[in-house]
């Protein structure tokens, strides 16, 4: 796998510019992190439609909600903990409960926050956003997916949360990607022993784990669930039926995250042995992605081990 030539943040910002050229409802808000989100290109192109509201995320969400009542489609950016946890009640009441169409972009999920450490390292953002009724929760895998997802996110009539890795991710998809919000993507379908269901930066690791497992004569399917809510229940059922075991792989706390979302479907409709690779009820800390991945047990090797464990429980 190669690293993408494009950053996800730049791709999103440029895609927003393109979209805004066609749709005057698009506006962008930030809380003093414009430079971190590469949205300067939007500000330069549409200075009157870009609002840096200062370091006040709760107010930013309310302002975005007010703009939504006036017919705008606001995209409100911050680092993921501040875009969700810091302003959770504002998102819950002023956006979701009010039925308003605000798009929330939370960047640097999980260990991607690296040197910013525990205060900036959300392992729970998708869990808390998933608990808001009707909230769409999406984590792009690479720049191509982000670009293809944007028009669908904008067209969706109510609130969407985007958990966005900012920089250059592993390039998983090319232009042939047929992306649909809420529809999982099966990246490897031949394995019969286990299905690795992954999201975000964990997709690359799941694909690597599948290769290692193949060398040991273990057949692993790989499915990318990018939309955690509403989850593609059919993809979960198919995974259980085809391989009889599931391992979820997430850069997030396993409590309330992708593992929980998959287990909610599997337990109800197709119970099979399941393991969850993710952060196990820990806070974040400073460190490089690779180091933190070792510390929190979300490496490729952790996925391989979890796969074997799940299979052994069949």
């Amino acid at each position: 796998m190669t690293t993408d030539e494009r950053e996800i943040r730049q791709t999103l910002a440029q895609a927003l510019v393109s979209l805004a050229e066609r749709d005057e409802r698009i506006v962008v808000l930030d809380a003093d992190l414009m430079s971190c989100h590469a949205t300067k290109c939007f500000k330069e192109k549409f200075p009157e439609r870009f609002f840096n509201v200062g370091i006040a995320e709760q107010n930013m969400i309310g302002v975005a909600a007010g703009m939504a009542t006036m017919g705008k489609i606001p995209f409100a950016y911050s680092f993921a903990p501040f875009a969700t946890r810091r302003c959770y009640d504002q998102i819950f009441i002023s956006v979701a409960y009010s039925g308003l169409n605000v798009k929330i972009i939370g960047s640097e999920p999980g260990v991607a926050a690296e040197a910013n450490g525990g205060t900036h390292m959300p392992f729970e953002d998708m869990a808390i956003m998933r608990a808001i009724p009707k909230m769409i929760c999406f984590e792009p895998t690479d720049a191509t997916m982000m670009e293809k997802a944007l028009p669908q996110i904008a067209d969706y009539p109510t609130a969407v949360y985007v958990r966005m890795f900012r920089k250059k991710a592993a390039k998983i998809y090319d232009e042939s990607l047929d992306f649909k919000l809420g529809k999982a993507i099966t990246l490897k379908d031949e394995g019969k022993d286990v299905t690795l269901i992954a999201s975000g930066i964990m997709v690359e690791r799941a694909l690597q784990a599948a290769e290692i497992l193949a060398e040991q004569n273990i057949g692993a399917r790989v499915v990318n669930i990018h939309t955690w809510k509403p989850i593609d229940a059919q993809a979960v059922k198919e995974s259980a039926q085809k391989s009889g075991a599931i391992v979820t792989c997430e850069n997030h706390n396993v409590y309330g995250g992708l593992g929980s979302a998959v287990a909610e479907v599997a337990a109800r409709e197709c119970p099979v042995p399941m393991e969850t690779v993710g952060i196990n009820d820990e806070f974040g800390q400073v460190g490089k992605n690779a180091y933190l991945s070792e510390v929190y047990h979300i490496t490729t090797a952790d996925i391989v081990n979890a796969a074997k464990k799940a299979i052994s429980r069949k």
Binding site: A56, N59, V63, A64, M70, G71, D89, G99
Partner: protein, 272 residues
């Protein structure tokens, strides 16, 4: 505003107070204090100032009225019913199972409600966003937002006011229902917002400090606000429970039980 208009609005405000006392009394309990303290301001806004159309409640260039102190929902409901946004019969359903009139404002349930509120401090940010969007679109709408004095203890109020002041949102008219009381007692005893005039001035607002029960003064203040060139704060010095003998006499009328005997005696409505 001439004397006859002021007189007729005073009569209207009295009728709306009676409607509110009856509405909350019919349910049996509610936020009567903060409902009655804002009634004169709502009367002036809705019956003499706001560009609104009850037949077309979502028209794009309408003025917006955000009741950020969302527990004053019933004050909005009696006004909206009186103006014909929905049948007056709905008032009897306040807070009952399946109602369109919950105690806190809900834009998804009630025609004429421009924003949901109830978690305090949030409505002002929304009003600021509306004012910014209106400027972007060259929409002539005036955005009215009513906040509470207890609500002013929420940090979000000051986040929103800082942005409104710095952006000189002259299409924004914020009103503070300064009735000096909150759920647990006196605002000054719990976490005082004094000196509130200085606070809002320091945030860049054009501040007017008036008697919140003086129809003429409220009208003049709104007229002044529309040509101030700045974000506007009208401090309404009010009495919690104004116009209901039992509420004004109570030690704290933030929320209280109102029996049928109480509301009938207060309103003189023995046939309703």
């Amino acid at each position: 505003m001439d004397a006859s208009q002021s007189q007729s609005l005073t009569v209207k405000a009295r009728q709306l107070r009676d409607d509110a006392i009856q509405t909350i009394g019919t349910f049996g309990v509610g936020h009567i204090g903060g409902v009655l303290s804002v009634m004169d301001a709502l009367t002036v806004i809705f019956y003499s100032k706001a560009n609104i159309d009850p037949k077309n409640p979502r028209k794009q260039d309408r003025d917006r009225v955000i009741m950020s102190k969302g527990h004053a929902g019933p004050a909005m409901y009696v006004v909206l019913a009186d103006l014909g946004y929905f049948p007056k019969e709905w008032l009897k359903t306040l807070n009952k199972n399946g109602t369109n009139l919950p105690s806190h404002c809900d834009m998804q349930k009630t025609p004429g409600i421009d924003m949901t509120a109830g978690s305090l401090g949030q409505g002002l940010s929304v009003a600021v966003g509306m004012a910014m969007a209106a400027k972007l679109d060259k929409n002539p709408a005036t955005i009215y937002c009513i906040i509470g004095d207890g609500e002013s203890q929420e940090g979000q109020i000051w986040e929103a006011s800082m942005l409104a002041g710095s952006r000189k949102l002259d299409n924004l008219v914020v009103m503070l229902d300064y009735n000096k009381m909150q759920l647990d007692g006196k605002v000054s005893d719990i976490n005082d917002i004094y000196p509130v005039v200085d606070k809002w001035k320091s945030f860049g607002f054009y501040v007017q400090d008036i008697d919140g029960h003086d129809i003429g003064a409220i009208s003049d203040a709104i007229d002044n606000a529309k040509c101030s060139g700045r974000a506007n704060m009208i401090i309404l010095n009010t009495v919690k429970g104004k116009g209901a003998t039992f509420a004004e006499a109570a030690a704290n009328c933030h929320s209280m039980t109102i029996t049928e005997d109480m509301w009938r005696k207060e309103t003189g409505r023995y046939d309703a």
